[in-house]
Symmetry: C2
Subunit: 160 residues, 2 copies
DNA sequence: CAACATAGTGAATGATATACACAATGAAGA
DNA sequence: TCTTCATTGTGTATATCATTCACTATGTTG
C-alpha cells in the first residue's frame, strides 16, 4: 500500500497541499489500524464491511448488499461464500421471494460485529476524545464544508 | 468498496463518532476521485503510487520502491512489469550494482507524472482553497494532534 | 576464497473486483 | 393462463494487487 506523505520543503506549512497531505496520511493510517483490528477478528476489509452492514441493517439480501456496498452482485456472492465458510453468516431463504437469499449473522458473527462496534467507539475516542467541544465543533464545521465540495467534485468526476 | 457512512440518529451530531464517520467518508470519496483521475491516465492506484515516487525521487531501484511503498519486492516486480508494458517506465542497469535495477520514467511517464502533480494541486485547491488562513490553520492544528495520536495507536497496534 | 547478505524473479496462492452468460423466479399485460 | 420482461444469484473467465517460498546472480566481509 502506498505510504508516501511527502512534505515538500518548498511548500508552506499551512496550505491546501499541506491539508491534503495530512488528510491522506490520516486516511492511510486509519485504514492500516482498522485492517489490523479486522484481521484480529478473522476478517478482511471487504468482509468486515458486509458484517458492519448486516450488524446495522439486520438480515439483508445479497442484492441489497450489492447496492449498499456499490459492488457487483457477483462480488457479494464470493464475499458471502467466505463469510459463510468462516461461520460468520448463514444464507437463509427469503420468506416471499424464492429468487432472493437473506444473509444473516450467526451467533459468532453477531459477537464479532459487537466487537467491531466496540472497537469503533474506542477508536473514535482515541482519535477525537481529547478535543474540547469547541475544537471538535470547529473541526467538524470545516470538515463538513470540505465534504460538501468533495461530493460535488466526485459527482462531476464520476458523472462526466 | 465500502460506502457505509451511517449517521445514527442516536448519536450526537458533535461527537468523536461523528468526526470519525466524517473522516471515513472523506477518505472514501477522496480515494474514489483519485482512482478516477488515475484511471483517466491509464493507471491504477498501486501503479500511480510508483509513478508518484519516481516523479519525486528520480530513478529508483526496485528494492527502494519496495521499502518506500512497504510492499514486498515481488510485488514491485509485477507493478514495474505493468508500467513497463504501458511505456510509463523503463528498467535500466544500475551503474555500480549489477544485481540492482534502476526504474526510471519514460518521456510519456514523465508527462503522466506531471499531470498527476497538476491534478494534486488542483484537488488540494478544490477541497481546501476556500478556507481562510485562520480556518486552515485551526484545521491543520487539530488534524496534527489527531495524527499524532493515531500514529501511537497504529504503532501499538502493529507492534503488539 | 568462504560465508553471508542483498536484488530481483519464477511459481503458487489468496483476496478483491469485474464482465458476460445463464437458470430460476417474479411481475405485468394481453 | 400464457407470454414477455425484469430481477436474483451464480458459473466461468479474467485482471489487479499482494503475499510466501525457492532460487539465481551478485555484492560484501572476514
Amino acid at each position: 500500500m502506498n505510504d508516501i506523505h511527502n512534505e515538500e520543503a518548498s511548500e508552506e506549512s499551512v496550505s491546501p497541499e499541506a491539508a491534503l497531505g495530512r488528510v491522506m496520511e490520516l486516511s492511510f493510517l486509519m485504514a492500516a489500524d482498522m485492517d489490523a483490528g479486522q484481521a484480529k477478528l478473522g476478517l478482511t476489509r471487504a468482509r468486515a464491511t458486509i458484517m458492519w452492514q448486516l450488524h446495522h441493517s439486520g438480515p439483508t439480501t445479497q442484492r441489497a448488499l450489492s447496492d449498499a456496498l456499490k459492488v457487483t452482485p457477483r462480488n457479494i456472492t464470493g464475499l458471502v461464500d467466505a463469510l459463510e465458510g468462516g461461520n460468520f453468516v448463514v444464507r437463509t431463504p427469503h420468506p416471499t421471494d424464492r429468487r432472493a437469499i437473506l444473509v444473516k449473522l450467526t451467533d459468532h458473527g453477531a459477537q464479532t460485529a459487537a466487537s467491531m462496534e466496540t472497537g469503533w467507539h474506542e477508536f473514535a475516542g482515541q482519535l477525537f476524545g481529547h478535543l474540547s467541544g469547541a475544537e471538535l465543533e470547529a473541526f467538524l464545521g470545516t470538515l463538513d464544508g470540505v465534504l460538501e465540495r468533495l461530493r460535488t467534485v466526485v459527482a462531476r468526476s464520476l458523472g462526466a
